[in-house]
Amino acid sequence: MANENLIEKIMNDPQPIPRKVPDYMRKSGGFMFWTGAMVSAVFLYEVVTGLILLFYYQPSNAYKSTEAFLNTVPFGSIILTTHLYGAYAMIVLVYIHLLRNLFVGAYKRPRQMQWLSGILLLLMTIGVGFFGYSMSGDVLSADATDVGRGISGAVPVIGQYLTSLFFGSGTQLSLFHRLLAWHIVLAALIGIFFLAHFFLAEYNTIMPSGKDSGDRAPAIDKDDGTYKPWYPYNLLYMMQIVLLTLGIVVIIPSVLAVIPNVPALFSPFPQVAPNSPLAMSVPAYPPWFLLFIYKELDFQFAQGLGPFYATLIFAGLPLAYLVLLPYLDTKASLKLVDRPITVSFTIVGVVYLAILSAWGALEPGVPINNGIVAIFYIVPLVVITGFVLFLTKMIKQGKITNPYIGGIVLSATFAGLSAFGIGAILVYSGMNFTPSVLAGLSILGLFLGISLLFAFALIFGIFPPKARKQEENISKNTYVAYSSIMGVLSIVILIEILSMPFGNIYNQSLYGVGLGVLLLIGGVMIRLYRGQYYGE
């Protein structure tokens, strides 16, 4: 029908929401269809903890109120640190969601608008992270707002207005008030755009597997009559994923909180105040998810350009590529072999992002001359693109039949990345083995060894062909035993975390770990139940 109501169509076509989805979305590996659900789960957690934090945050007293929240308010430590790590998790998951959709070609028609709204959500997520990170008022937040002021102030013509729009007119009070306002405004916008993004996804249906769509766009998921209803099958699976994700988000910062000497970059706590004498000893790091821009500003020619144009080039070009991608890559095929350029650009992009971030962490603020910058940009581009093009050609001609080709490419990429990193560190450090250089070398060396091992293992077929999983005939009583153990365990943990005092950081960490374990238990119980009664 031409004049069909769009909302009606979204709500009822191909079936009424909540929609049935194919079984492979719930099989092993099916979580790749739920990366968006993981992002939303963490977003929801961020909203809840953020609203709690809003009760205590004082823009007039940013650092002191943050410290007081951590040290004197019951469970303040656990709420603030998990809010921070939830944000980190959200950014990582947004990137994973983006990569997954790049690789499966979900940006192709009819999902262009969904893709573009996703890019917008990525930007807003990084923005909300930046403002939130700057709100603590510690020395790192002061560094971050300084860089932010530098970039916004260098925008031609309207720079001054942008700076005062985002960072206030100069007093600390107006700065932190604005950071708070922008943090909330962006979070609210994320909520709104998330709804649009979500309903576009419902409208366009899930991205079906290659087998179902014949690897051709437009890939629309149609119920072939075998789909099971959303309730209880998808609801339970979704709960399982949400519980496991949140469990991990709660446990990581709780453990980090009691580990001594966590590097500033990953510390769940704010650093010292900017006016403290100890502030000199804290390197001027931006949040890790902006390290790549930070390093790029150290490049010789970027320093000639000034912070705004440098950011425009380094962040704007990849962004423009992502925005234009649905209109550049319009071929119908969704096969990776038919999209070698997209695939290699994606890998190159990840390589750039990873190296720049590590570089920024190891050598913050060290200027880099143009020769090294050129090598850094050209070598991975040429090597990876050439390699991928060669590989796709071989596969198309039928010369490569190794079923593990995907894994081999992945491990080879990691190996190449690590080797490049080691070479870069060796050349760049001038063989001057300071502890940070050694740390970088040993980590990369470990990566190199593991990925090479994997690549060779796959090439020479050391892994046996996937054996069919033996029918695990665990008796029903064993399941009952498992579940009773976990039920009792959860009661014990609950009693423990309800009765413990919240006096110090160790208690709160224990509370956080207990809570995380409860969430994980919940997830595992759902998994057991699904396995036992739905055969999934």
């Binding site: 007293n61 004197t72 029903k476 976990m486 119980m525």
Partner: protein, 242 residues
């Protein structure tokens, strides 16, 4: 439904299945209750004191130098305040004198609280001339803070020698233990108990020890409802134009 019918219509495994279901609900319920404990306990503002007792703090200027008698101006027309006992709780620091700006000894007096009829003992002045006093600078009527509430010197056009709040006209007498002169306030300002060390008016120093009188405006206790000061040894005195 009879017992027999139920056995026939439900699958034989249903009791096991329900048990596992129950255990799952239990685990997720436990997680929710666990979350609730943290969340609820967190958002209820602590009414238990953030400090275990009044801290004894040295008064220092913005450069960290101790405040000496000679660094205080007698009948200063500017507003001199320090935070105590928590952040954002300003207190007046006054060196009082007569109309010729000569130090006046402030004697300990008994001050009554009109609202309750109770009384308390004002500590009186400290320092070489017993002329330095301090009190909360948050008006006991509706909580106005400096510069709305301030000390009016003897050269001022009105309320000379009194602390007057421009918001609603409450007036207090710093020479008489900050007692109520005119309403609408029904409580005097909480007095700060101070001590003095040293004999040379250029190098001596002042300490604030505790508060006496009504609780600070809108507080349930002087030691709760805010954030502790950054230092446990000193508090900074700031001077702003009156």
């Amino acid at each position: 439904m009879s017992e027999k019918d139920r056995e026939e219509t439900t699958p034989p495994d249903s009791s096991r299945r329900n048990f596992i279901k129950m255990m799952g609900v239990l685990a997720i319920g436990a997680a929710s209750i666990g979350f609730l404990r943290g969340g609820i306990q967190n958002i209820i503002p602590s009414s238990s004191p953030v400090l275990t007792g009044f801290p004894s703090l040295k008064l220092v200027d913005t450069t960290g130098k101790p405040i000496s008698t000679n660094s205080l101006v007698v009948n200063n027309p500017e507003i001199v305040t320090f935070d105590y006992p928590l952040v954002d709780e300003p207190n007046f620091l006054l060196r009082l004198g007569d109309s010729n700006n000569k130090d006046v000894e402030i004697k300990p007096v008994t001050v009554s609280i009109p609202l309750t009829g109770q009384t308390f003992q004002s500590p009186g002045g400290v320092g070489p001339y017993k002329s330095v006093v301090a009190s909360s600078a948050i008006c006991q009527h509706l909580g106005c803070v400096p510069p709305e509430i301030r000390y009016h010197t003897f050269t001022a056009s009105s309320f000379d020698g009194k602390i007057h709040c421009d918001c609603h006209g409450s007036t207090y007498d710093p020479f008489e233990g900050f007692k109520v002169v005119t309403g609408p306030t029904q409580r005097p300002l909480p007095n700060v108990i101070m001590s003095h060390e040293g004999s040379d008016p250029d190098t001596d120093s002042y300490y604030v020890k505790s508060l006496v009188g009504p609780v600070i405006y809108a507080h349930t206790s002087d030691l709760s409802g805010g954030n502790p000061l950054p230092s446990t040894t000193q508090t900074t005195v700031t001077v702003t134009k009156g």
